[in-house]
């Protein structure tokens, strides 16, 4: 480093090596010279180095921590409200779609409606026996079957009549059309389903639900085991493993409709179970009562899965609208707060601005410094707000036993939104700062 002669002390003696730093031999050589050592001229940076700009701005921001906290408050609240709104919205709709498995989404059940009768509610109509065949004609129906519950005598696994009643069970009895098993996505553990032949002949065959089979002590069908409903023997031809669409089948003894009508006088099915193509459930639900009974479709009640969109929207829409408005208002106030405080800080730091101009800063340098300060403030507010929003979302989910869901992009975008707010809010104060004349600034104090 070359230094001019006046760096050397003349009066104060002796000096503890102030020249020790200046070990450049040129300085020694310049000792006798009358001329000042040729100086290296500086070049003004067109833009400040980012590092310098950030350092100066951060120092400005960090100078007043308490004020910084207050300044960011509006942005924190605004961003937190936005993140929470979106987070809770996403979590809630995620919750809905979890319940929304394929079984539920493709299942439609048509049952007779009820009307007030002399002894409470009575069925308003009777399903025809061929209701399943009628709905099969609808587009979007993949399988359909009818189902009827009736209650009969106790069921036992052996013909011997035990006087104590031991071995007799109160097992529900039901009848089904052969198509029902496909309609409810039933699966067999062993054996086979009955078919239309069994149905037409009224054969005394049954399918056992998984739990019914356990209670009756039947676990295989290859030996053609029999069970007894009252005193009537029935041959077990199959045992269910699962029945996703109608879990009550697992508890029941199921026989063909033809058998039930012939032996027990069952008058009509209780329900038509329909399995639809994915996405067709709503449409099938509207058309099925007409297909079943074109003259009185209003007498039937239809159980369809909720429309995927409608439920999600209804949960989130009202929450969202309110909170987005609140978040927007808070952000506006936050932006105004940053603008206000930054402006105040500009006015307080007039002499600093004057000094910076005096030592070589241009107007753009000064403007940029204050702009970056307010961007940093906005970004910090956004960061804290995002954290608060995520915590509220997770906390709410924990209380409600939900799985919190949050788009990662939101966590990145929200602090950036804060920075943008800071940028917008800082524009006017930065312009004001750059307009300050160094003369006025240095004279003021």
């Amino acid at each position: 480093m070359r230094l001019p002669r006046w760096w050397r002390r003349t009066r104060t003696e002796p000096v503890e090596e102030p020249l020790s730093l200046l070990s450049d031999p040129l300085v020694e050589g310049a000792e006798g010279d009358a001329d000042v050592v040729p100086r290296r001229r500086w070049r003004l940076q067109r833009r400040m180095a980012w590092r310098d700009l950030l350092e100066e701005s951060l120092a400005g921001v960090a100078a007043r921590p308490a004020r910084l906290a207050l300044t960011t408050l509006g942005t924190v609240l605004g961003i937190a409200a936005l993140v929470t709104t979106v987070g809770i919205g996403q979590t809630a709709s995620g919750q809905i779609s979890q319940r929304f498995d394929a079984v539920a989404a493709t299942r439609v059940v048509v049952e007779p409606g009820s009307r007030p009768g002399p002894d409470g509610e009575v069925a308003a109509s009777q399903l025809p026996w061929d209701a399943d065949e009628r709905v099969m004609r609808l587009a979007g129906v993949e399988a359909a079957g009818t189902y009827a519950r009736f209650h009969q005598d106790l069921v036992s696994g052996s013909p011997a009549t035990d006087p104590t009643g031991e071995g007799r069970h109160d097992v529900p009895t039901a009848s089904a059309s052969p198509g029902l098993f496909a309609a409810v996505r039933a699966e067999l553990a062993t054996g086979r389903y009955f078919d239309s032949g069994h149905d037409e002949r009224g054969d005394q065959v049954v399918i056992l639900g998984k739990y019914a089979a356990e209670r009756l002590g039947v676990n295989r069908v290859d030996s053609q085991p029999s069970i007894f409903i009252g005193d009537r023997p029935f041959t077990v031809i199959g045992i269910l493993d699962s029945a996703a669409g109608r879990a009550e089948l697992q508890d029941a003894v199921i026989m063909p409709h033809g058998t039930a009508r012939g032996l027990y006088g069952v008058r009509a099915p209780d329900a038509v179970d329909i399995r639809t193509a994915i996405g067709a459930a709503q449409q099938v639900g509207e058309q099925a009562p007409i297909a079943v009974d074109p003259n009185n479709p209003e007498l039937y009640q239809v159980d369809v899965p909720p429309r995927p969109g409608s439920l999600r929207e209804s949960v989130t829409a009202d929450v969202n609208a309110l909170f987005l408005v609140l978040g927007g208002v808070a952000l506006l106030i936050g932006g105004l707060g940053i603008a206000n405080i930054t402006l105040l800080s500009v006015l307080e730091r007039v002499s600093e601005i004057g000094l910076r101009r005096a030592v070589g800063a241009t107007r753009p340098h000064v403007a940029l410094q204050f702009l970056v300060e307010s961007i940093v403030i906005g970004f910090l507010g956004g960061l804290v707000g995002t954290a608060v929003g995520v915590l509220v979302t997770v906390g709410t989910s924990a209380v409600r036993d939900w799985t919190p869901l949050l788009d990662m992009r939101l966590a990145v975008a929200a602090p950036l939104l804060g920075a943008v707010i800071g940028l917008v809010a800082g524009t006017y104060p930065a312009w004001r700062a750059s307009a300050i004349e160094p003369i006025a600034a240095l004279r003021a104090s």
Binding site: W7, V36, R39, T362, I439
Partner: protein, 226 residues
């Protein structure tokens, strides 16, 4: 040798109404190594002259050459460059940045120039050693005495190796002991060849200079005011 400062017929007026002629007709030549004091009562125009000399303001009349370069009509940007590299300012109120270390304060002018980090530290350290504050580099300016603060400000002015050190009432905020030590430092720098211009209304301060001028009602004259 090229004079550091050459002013010819320089005037500065502020538009009114009424129009104020803060500086009327100044002809001033400052040779390298001169120690000049500019005295005058308040309102005499000496602050305006300081701003003109320091490129903080542009004359409305006349010409100003700094180091032989005509600077009277330069752009704002170019004047900022010249301020940074040719002029060292020392103010009555020190104008140190709070919450920044002494070293950072001294390095401030280099923030706006392409100076490598290492050289910034070296220069700042050297400048602080030069004013006798080598042991205060990491201090907060708020913990320093007035005299020490002014020394920091002088170090900040020296760090760019200026052609001209411009001091505006440098001892105005100091007690007599501290003021004397600052003036000793100025003598010291002058003896080393630095060009100084000190603006003051204090006879004790202006008396230390090698050459004295005074300004009254915007008109400058050599010597002491009658």
């Amino acid at each position: 040798m090229t004079p550091v400062v050459r002013m010819a017929g320089v005037g500065r007026s502020f538009p009114g109404p009424p129009e104020v002629h803060a500086v009327r007709e100044v002809d001033l030549v400052v040779e390298p190594g001169e120690y000049l004091s500019i005295a005058g009562p308040s309102g005499s125009g000496k602050s305006t002259l300081l701003h003109l000399l320091g490129l903080l303001d542009r004359p409305t009349r006349g010409s100003y050459w700094l180091d032989g370069e005509d600077v009277s009509q330069l752009s704002e940007r170019r004047r900022a460059v010249l301020r940074g590299e040719r002029i060292g300012f020392v103010f009555q109120a020190f104008h140190l940045l709070p919450h920044r270390s002494v070293l950072e304060n001294v390095a401030l002018p280099m923030v706006y120039h392409r100076i490598p980090q290492r050289e910034r530290v070296e220069r700042s350290q050297a400048a602080l050693e030069r004013v006798g504050l080598g042991h205060r580099m990491e201090f907060d300016p708020a913990t320093l005495s007035g005299g020490e603060r002014q020394r920091v400000a002088i170090a900040r002015a020296l760090v760019s190796e200026p052609s001209l050190l411009l001091a505006d009432e440098p001892t105005g905020n100091l007690d007599s002991a501290n003021a004397a030590s600052i003036l000793d430092l100025f003598d010291d720098l002058h003896a080393g060849g630095l060009t100084l211009a000190v603006i003051t209304h204090d006879q004790g301060v202006s008396g230390r200079a090698q050459r004295r001028v005074h300004i009254v009602d915007g008109i400058m004259a050599e010597g002491v005011a009658a």
